[in-house]
């Protein structure tokens, strides 16, 4: 399989890998390793915005690259009830084959599982 430059960059040099702990950290996960795709996000919220984000992912290069990009690009943005960029836009940005759309939905589920509980947080 060929990957576009964006995917290669975020897959090969995935940053923000790991977990966060402490006050204002919200964790969400989706998928299962046994099924081939699992993603977890930790979002640290300060004053309604993402101050730090980390991820873990078991999955294909697209899954890892998208997760890494989300963790990087979310910092400084207000936490919201949706992905920083929609699934269709992510598909285009990372040239994700349509057969893998389900994996992006797992990434979205993991993101929302962390972000939605954080919406009410005022720490």
């Amino acid at each position: 399989m060929n990957y576009n430059e964006f995917t290669r960059r975020y897959f090969e040099a995935a940053a923000n890998v790991g977990e966060l702990t402490g006050a204002g950290v919200f964790r969400g996960a989706a998928g299962t390793r046994g099924q081939g795709t699992w993603v977890q996000f930790d979002l640290q919220i300060k004053a309604g915005a993402v101050s730090a984000a980390r991820f873990l992912a078991f999955g294909c290069p697209h899954t890892i690259a998208v997760s890494a990009w989300l963790a990087e690009s979310a910092v400084g943005r207000a936490v919201g009830p949706r992905l920083p960029e929609g699934v269709q836009e992510l598909r285009d940005r990372f040239a994700v084959p349509i057969e893998k759309t389900g994996r992006l939905l797992i990434v979205e589920d993991a993101w929302l599982a962390a972000a939605l509980p954080a919406l009410e947080y005022r720490g």
Partner: protein, 411 residues
């Protein structure tokens, strides 16, 4: 493209990854390439080998027959038993469809194994669509078949057993002689053996193995792509059933005992003949050298932990090592090492979604471990430096992907 100038668009070798995919194909031996080029440049050898009316044909025919003798000698067959084909896939098709067509009035049952190459499994599937019954035997967890499984699967209407000698994914060596004896006792089932991975990697003797049909390939043995052979036994068996017969699948010239019509490609055949001769010359020394490299590779990878060897460690050729990496997703692993090491994955990437290796699944590996199986194919060009590079890259990338996955390896 200017045919006078070589295409320089390809990357130079310094940019290319370490090649550890010799089970997929091998580079053409320089001596083989030279011999082929000499045939192509010759002012006397370009005749049609079937042209008996002039010297040009005779020169080409002599080259073809010389190569036939080289191939036969390398695998313990008679020269008259060698039928040239375009490769092992065609040889497998000729064997399976040729036998089934010839003997269809005697029975319509075939026995094969779930871990065979697609070039055997797909013809069998096609025969099922045509109303044949196929028994797919399941090997043990090491990929080995108990010959008694074949005995138990044989029926009065069985006409063919197709069993590969060396498995192309995991390298295990099946007990062909025992299965041949079982088929001979049965009296009605002919034995076809796909030996595309065998030549130059382990001893192979068509006569003493007792197979009736055997498929060979040139490009797995440092010969050219596009040429292979089907060995068709000319010996009868003790049971008095005579010798195996095939129905031809293509027509138009009567070449190759009317079993495979078409003008023979003299230069390709010359290349295959020399490649097989060289393989036999180098075999024992090369096998020992490769065995040491394989041990070096296995030791290096096993040190990672969570690495499982697929296939038997004792009944296999040293040229192949298939391992699964727990806690690593297969597609990501292949993508991570691709710039540095050229290997095959256990997955069949027929679409954007990789399918787990059906061979590893047949051994009982989980879907995840089947996806993360990598086949390392070692060969003549492989050096200790190549192995060390592969181990270093795998160590780094498996560690990185496990770190990203962040959890206990999934088995």
């Amino acid at each position: 493209m200017n045919i006078a100038q070589p295409n320089t668009a390809q990357p130079n070798t310094a940019q290319m990854p370490v090649y550890l995919d010799h089970a997929a194909t091998t580079p053409v031996d320089a001596r083989v390439a030279l011999a082929m080029a000499e045939v192509l440049r010759s002012e006397t050898a370009y005749g049609n080998p079937a042209s008996t009316s002039h010297d040009y044909g005779d020169v080409a025919a002599a080259l073809v027959e010389s190569a036939r003798g080289q191939v036969a000698a390398a695998v313990g067959a008679g020269a008259a038993e060698v039928i040239w084909t375009s490769g092992a896939t065609e040889a497998n098709n000729l064997a399976i469809f040729g036998v089934s067509r010839y003997y269809r009035d005697r029975g319509r049952h075939i026995v094969t194994v779930r871990t065979e190459h697609k070039a055997v499994l797909d013809p069998c599937r096609e025969l099922e669509r045509r109303g044949w019954e196929v028994s797919y035997l399941v090997p043990d967890q090491e990929g080995l078949l108990d010959p008694e499984q074949v005995a138990a699967a044989l029926r009065p209407d069985t006409v063919l057993v197709s069993l590969m000698h060396v498995n192309n994914e995991i390298g295990v060596v099946q007990n062909i002689a025992a299965v041949a004896a079982i088929c001979a006792r049965h009296g009605g089932a002919w034995l076809h053996v796909d030996a595309a991975q065998s030549v130059g990697k382990c001893p192979i003797d068509f006569a003493s193995l007792g197979a009736d049909l055997m498929s060979l390939s040139a490009h797995k043995v440092y010969g050219p792509k596009g040429v292979g052979a089907l060995l068709v036994s000319r010996r009868g068996d003790a049971g008095g059933r005579g010798r195996v017969q095939l129905a031809a699948l293509q027509f138009g010239g009567g070449q190759e005992r009317s079993l495979r019509a078409g003008t023979l490609a003299t230069h390709q055949i010359v290349g295959m003949g020399l490649a097989f001769e060289l393989a036999m010359t180098l075999s024992s020394v090369e096998t020992a050298r490769v065995a040491q490299l394989q041990q070096r590779l296995w030791r290096g990878l096993a040190a990672l932990g969570g690495v499982l060897r697929n296939g038997s460690a004792t009944r296999s050729v040293p040229h192949l090592l298939n391992v699964s990496f727990a806690g690593v997703e297969g597609e990501s692993l292949l993508a991570a090492i691709r710039p540095y090491v050229a290997v095959s994955t256990g997955s069949a990437c027929t679409s954007a979604l990789a399918e787990p290796s059906y061979v590893l699944r047949a051994l009982g590996r989980s879907e995840r471990l089947s996806e993360s199986g990598l086949r390392f194919g070692l060969g003549r060009t492989t050096t200790e430096g190549d192995i060390d590079t592969a181990v270093a890259v795998l160590t780094r990338e498996v560690g990185r992907l496990r770190h990203i996955a962040g959890a206990t390896p999934v088995t």
